[in-house]
Assembly symmetry: C2
Homo-oligomer: 318 residues x 2
């Protein structure tokens, strides 16, 4: 009998639920649930259970769903809980996995979005067949999922893989939302690269189309467009950001010697503009054992559906 899983991308704004087959095809998707519209977790999880039942019924999959996987901020894989998530309506500790399991009767696994992405890449994406790799998500922040010996590393408490909050191998003194200083994500996220642009527009005097944009309106997409149009400053910003990531990857490689590092999320869409300087710096600076040995790849999961697919991969029985 065909089996299916449910993948849920629980974001601060939208909750997207997908019905997924074993090959990673999304048969049906529902984004009708607005996360912030449900201040009560009981009511929110009721809404999710209803959508799952509806998706199963409409697609002839009743009784064929193997499990539910959820990618959510501050999610603990071991306990199924969401813990003090700043951007979600439910405060403190919320037993999300337990509630969904109770309301659907389906085994439910919960983890953060970067870990879900890593499992998604392993199950359906560029990391198929790999036993040791790292996924780095480059979005508003930087997240990560680390796979070693074919297993995701959750750590002793369920929160491992916060590589956005290692110290970047540049020490400019940038303050991070987490309270630390010079975390990798203050340089290498969509917001980090915009910070670099603002600083450089102040410290440098060379011409750039970026100077025509109101400072507070700068986005990473504008930097990308400027770089692709040949703007020198914008190109140097990508080179710098790639070099910071390349140096950081040298450290990650010394930790777990992955076969590949897979980039995922908004800023990863810059493609070779970012990948090329990453590879260059990484192979210049990595410990000699790993020179030219570790691949840097872009996620192959389809953009808009990647988060749902990643989450769904958790739903399969081990």
């Amino acid at each position: 009998m065909e089996s299916y899983v449910i993948g849920i991308d629980l974001g601060g704004t939208n909750t997207v639920i997908g019905l997924v087959d074993v090959k990673g095809h999304i048969l049906a998707k529902d984004d009708s649930i607005k996360t912030q519209a449900h201040p009560e977790i009981e009511e929110y999880t009721d809404a999710i259970a209803n959508v799952i039942a509806k998706l199963a019924k409409e697609n002839g999959c009743e009784g064929k769903i193997e499990g539910v996987g959820i990618g959510a901020p501050m999610a603990n894989y071991y306990t199924g809980e969401i813990v003090n998530a700043a951007n979600l309506p439910w405060k403190g500790i919320v037993p999300l996995g337990w509630l969904i399991e109770k309301k659907t009767g389906l085994p439910t696994k919960v983890t953060n979005d970067a870990n879900a992405a890593a499992i998604g890449e392993m199950k359906y994406g560029v990391a198929q067949g790999m036993k040791d790799f790292i996924v780095i998500t480059l979005g508003t922040g930087v997240g990560s999922g680390v796979v070693a010996n074919g297993q995701l590393i959750y750590g002793h408490d369920g929160f491992a893989g916060e590589l956005g909050h290692v110290t970047a191998p540049v020490l400019e003194g940038r303050s991070c939302g987490c309270g630390r200083v010079d975390c990798l994500e203050t340089y290498a996220s969509a917001t980090g690269i915009v910070r670099t642009a603002k600083i450089w527009l102040g410290t440098r005097t060379d011409e750039s189309v970026l100077r025509n944009i109101e400072c507070d309106k700068l986005t990473s997409k504008m930097l990308y467009d400027a770089a692709m149009d040949g703007d020198k400053l914008a190109n140097e910003i990508f080179e710098f950001t790639g070099a910071v990531l390349g140096d950081a990857f040298c450290n990650f490689i010394a930790f777990s010697a992955p076969e590949a590092i897979v980039l995922f999320g908004g800023l990863a869409n810059a493609g070779e503009l970012l990948l090329e300087p990453i590879r260059k710096r990484m192979n210049e600076n990595v410990v000699f054992l790993w020179k030219d040995k570790v691949k840097v790849l872009k996620s192959s999961l389809p953009g808009a559906d990647a988060a749902v697919l990643g989450a769904s991969a958790l739903g399969w029985k081990a």
Copy 2:
């Protein structure tokens, strides 16, 4: 029937072979083999096989030995090979595990000394019962063994866990033997701490008993003795070194969220002199999720025998 294992500590000078029981007691030990006296690997492994046979016979353990574990520089766990080890007599790639297995008839596992230490701590030491921890060896260099999900992380190529060669979260521009700059071991090893002392004796002018020692004769033990005698400069050197390690540990914790970080090797014998500033900085600077949650422990394996015990732990069937 009682089972035993053989542990071999393959060092640049001595090769120490121990017969070990399931509780981590060394029943007998042989250090008659001088590594450099055997330029031919065939002859070296013959000598080892002879010592193993002798140890087994003399202790009534013939037929009761479950396997052999070897800790050696540049050892690859997957292949059993030693690869381009700078301080050993055999150049290139040497199939050490295969040779010992052939000559003794015993299953043989090979890994580097820090990984062996990690398995030793898990089997007999302070990490018993832990599924997620990191061992950091602080000797002439800095090595590491990372355990996650109850398994040592070897990486895709067998060489994972080179945490002595991550970039230290201080950027003074210290050149490392590996060709990189500012590797952790240029600050936090026995040689790194002596480098700090030499630099500080030059940049600072305050009094210190260290000024009475010929610069090239300074050792980490002398720094320890001076600090314990109340020398202010020496104490500050340990505080600095502890802070560098504490900051580095923040990064390691963000990677694998270990339950504990265990310090092993010469410099770890400084005990609280080093541990206290490590814990202080670590808990000040770690991502809030892990504040006051991760233990920093000193190895409990008995000093001189720790390397043999660690290696022996590899010899047990999984």
